[in-house]
Subunit: 272 residues, 3 copies
Amino acid sequence: MGIKEACSEIVKITREKSPLVHNMTNYVTVNDCANAVLAIGASPVMADEIEEVRDMVSIASALVINIGTLNSRTIESMLAAGKRANELNIPVIFDPVGAGATPLRTKVSQRIMSEIKLAVIRGNMSEIKCVSGLASATKGVDAAEDDAAEDSGADIAVNLAKKLGCTVAITGAVDIISDGKRVCRISNGVADMSKITGTGCMTTSMTGGYVGACGKAYEGAVTAVAVMGISGEISLEQSRGTGSLRSGIIDSLSNMTPEIFLSRVKIDEESY
Amino acid sequence: MGIKEACSEIVKITREKSPLVHNMTNYVTVNDCANAVLAIGASPVMADEIEEVRDMVSIASALVINIGTLNSRTIESMLAAGKRANELNIPVIFDPVGAGATPLRTKVSQRIMSEIKLAVIRGNMSEIKCVSGLASATKGVDAAEDDAAEDSGADIAVNLAKKLGCTVAITGAVDIISDGKRVCRISNGVADMSKITGTGCMTTSMTGGYVGACGKAYEGAVTAVAVMGISGEISLEQSRGTGSLRSGIIDSLSNMTPEIFLSRVKIDEESY
Amino acid sequence: MGIKEACSEIVKITREKSPLVHNMTNYVTVNDCANAVLAIGASPVMADEIEEVRDMVSIASALVINIGTLNSRTIESMLAAGKRANELNIPVIFDPVGAGATPLRTKVSQRIMSEIKLAVIRGNMSEIKCVSGLASATKGVDAAEDDAAEDSGADIAVNLAKKLGCTVAITGAVDIISDGKRVCRISNGVADMSKITGTGCMTTSMTGGYVGACGKAYEGAVTAVAVMGISGEISLEQSRGTGSLRSGIIDSLSNMTPEIFLSRVKIDEESY
């Protein structure tokens, strides 16, 4: 079974299994993350209080950590939940939002990567370069133009994946996903998706759903990135601007089937 | 005047009175709660800082407490606001989101029920069973399938309503609302509403608006649950997926009239 | 160049420059604020942790402070970020949400106005009267009817603008913007915009984008208020209720051009 077929199967089983995804995420895009997780057939729960996160993650199939609006209280909760997830072999998906934009975000990202065993890291090129220890320009939470044009993305993804023993997903005009041995390039998606806040965060939370359902970090991440790209394409065809594009992406996610996935996906995989 | 007519009258007077609803709710669905409250003609305000919640609730017609993303800071604020509301005879509506999912949520729910006199509790079957002290399965913030199939819902609602001297609303495929003497069953709504986050939270916040306008806990809760169900039905007819279903629910709420209500509502009431 | 032409130019250059706007705002409308900032061509970032706000604001072109859901932690962060912005000559836009509704909001607003040099204050008539030290009715976060009918709006705006040396924007049925010397009246917009939460907050965040791009507080604020009003008008033509009105406003913002702006804007400016 090739990667396309494997991913289309994950689309299907996620609706059957409806895995619970514990999201510790930012208050900007959290509603879209919850609706995206529901739209792909999984079940979201949000909890960030230190007194309950260990309990909540224990009943979840995946934990998503997103530092988009981190604070001193939630940083400790994220670390506690991540460690508990590790003890229970529950996959942890990490989104280093804005790593490189401030020293705090860079430092917390490094702490999360060193103290928690991650299944997947997903970010834009500026963020992934930053957490890889490479020089990166940055502009808040969006990828810098110089970084977006980076042509050594596959090397960066492979190296970080090998270093951390996890899957790395770099999303951009062309998405690159690697587990250190395989490299996937996905060319679905439309430029206007960068004009909506949260397409990255949603992809990370959806990764939690897909990995939680199938138990495979690399395949789950590829599925999430491709499904988001395809949904953006379908939505753009019917949108009148970025407001309806956003709403339409959730529509398209909720309508996604293995058949639509296979007919639309543009994916290229190679060994590395 | 029967229950249908009483509720249709509440739909009308809420638009005339525009009661202020103080919402202490979660950061996942808060925007939808605010827009739902506005759509039914009431006015929402959100405040959770302990230094101001007593003042804010004092100018409100109802207080909504929703523990969807509770934390140690907001728990204390919720208790303080609830006690002040009690002193001023302002109705308090409680949504025990995720009760049973973690010990913290169960414990905080019990504390709120014992320290604050409630007008209405609204939850799904898993949550209401949990706060009733009954064994319940749970899966994050969604009702467990076993619980959703519970056929003793009326007994559970009546017993909790009598115990706390308040109205209990259990929402699901068929909604059950009781004040301990009357039991209402509402069969409006569509299954896809469970694929959007926040339909429950919105119903709770709308209950604040309706109860705040009419001063009657049971009738206000029945109105909120029925109006949400009807709005889901109307929205589904025009939706292309869960994104447009969500946006369409707010549309339908904003267009709701006593006439639409009476022509659509499916309600069955009996004494108990 | 008249004010209309100046504003239409700002619409254009904001898309070219894509200024970073650091938003410290409430969790109710934050997603709409982010999408509105993106829709006008600017780039939003949200950060409220005291350990990083000085760093984040340093890379931004404008700072937006909105006290819609203030708490003791974020108040300190707002003050710290504002002072750092002042040191770096980065314009600070302030939205005193709910000033007058509680003593805390009034007190914090006064503290922000006295400790931080502001570029723009934007609020409804109740809020601006409150922060001007005038008696104001208030109802949560919406303008009181008595205040909305205030006919001395220009005097109030001019006096506060002179006192603080900043631009004051009072939004309502007719919007009034003044820098102490000039007064602009804008009569775009539709009444239904008050039935959506966040049109005010979005206007404030958009002011951050426009002022950040052009460096002119008065012209930037006029542009934001007019663009929001025009977008509301366009959206209403295609909406089916307040849910689609909300989504349509983001659509219209994302489609805004200097040409649409010039053909639609209803603006009247006089010296004072």
